[in-house]
Amino acid sequence: MTDSEGKDVQLDPTLAFDRQDIEFVAAIREGRDPESSAASVVPTMVLLDKIDKAMNS
């Protein structure tokens, strides 16, 4: 990734797919909600539902 001045931005090299399953397993072991939990996605589903109704009514 480069910024607006074309300079390289240093990033953690962990792959997204790896980090995702690490988070899933960690949330289970720690008994907590994971990043990207169903609870965090439902508000977006509410918004999509409103858009869907607005576009199709």
């Binding site: 990734m1 931005v9 990033l11 953690d12 090299p13 962990t14 792959l15 997204a16 797919f17 790896d18 980090r19 995702q20 399953d21 690490i22 988070e23 899933f24 397993v25 949330a27 289970i28 909600d33 994971p34 990043e35 990207s36 939990s37 169903a38 609870a39 996605v41 439902v42 589903m45 509410v46 999509l48 539902d49 576009m55 199709n56």
Partner: protein, 244 residues
């Protein structure tokens, strides 16, 4: 996507893959052999019921997400389910309620949230050093073949990769009343009326399904002949016959 998870989980300590569910017994066996998984079946429930299963990862067609998530949660398993979590709001709310009732994790596979560039931007926004002035997001529908991210033929069509109101967005048989809109198969075509003067959303012949990805995660296949900016989709799609 099953393979992606198997490889990711192999890097995590004390995680064991107990069973693999596949569409057919043959493909399940081949997958299990390749990754040394002790049990495979075309019956999801049989896989969930294997001794030692704590969690289930669903990488199945979108219209199966709701029922399968509810099934796994009702058996006391943690679930990670592919996007989209469901095809409508009531289903999503059901899934959340079932997760709360079971006291189990229900996670949705929104991989973008875990990618380093996205996390870095999020960190800067939270830190207050990144101020959004203007954002351009374009998603292109590139694919001309109905294949998965490994280039293998799909038995279903991922409705996230297609305009979602087209009739081939489900894994089941097509609704014959709407089948004229497009067919999945070797002679699949897009509706001819869908093309506008800019050539958006072509009515051209395509070989077998077509689909898109944001280019940074998955490969594109075939020549890029038409681009469909996301912000135009609403307008373009409205011209499609049969859309409600």
């Amino acid at each position: 996507m099953g393979e992606v998870h198997v490889k990711a989980l192999a890097k995590i300590e004390d995680v064991e893959i107990v069973s693999i569910a596949a569409r057919t017994d043959e493909s399940g066996k081949a997958f299990a052999e390749k990754f040394k998984i002790p049990f495979s079946s075309s019956n999801l429930e049989a896989c969930i019921d294997r001794p030692g299963v704590d969690a289930v990862i669903l990488t199945t067609p979108s219209d199966q997400h709701h029922d399968q998530t509810i099934l796994a949660l009702s058996k006391g398993k943690h679930v990670q389910v592919e996007i989209p979590m469901s095809l409508n709001l009531p289903d999503a709310q059901n899934m959340l309620a079932a997760s709360k009732k079971a006291g189990k994790v229900c996670m949705v596979t929104h991989t973008r949230r875990f990618s380093s560039p996205h996390r870095e931007i999020r960190r800067r926004i939270q830190e207050g050093t990144f101020h959004l002035h203007h954002m351009v997001v374009e998603t292109y529908f590139f694919r001309r073949t109905n294949t998965n991210m490994h280039g293998q033929a799909r038995s279903w069509v991922d409705n996230l990769l297609w305009p979602s109101r087209l009739p081939f967005s489900r894994s089941g048989p097509l609704d014959p009343r709407r089948a004229e809109l497009g067919r999945v198969g070797t002679e699949g075509t897009r509706p001819s009326g869908a093309q506008d003067s800019d050539g958006h959303f072509g009515g051209d012949e395509i070989e077998e399904g077509a689909a898109l990805h944001d280019g940074d995660v998955l490969q594109q296949q075939g020549p890029v002949r038409r681009l469909l900016p996301l912000h135009r989709r609403g307008r373009d799609l409205q011209g499609l016959p049969g859309l409600e």
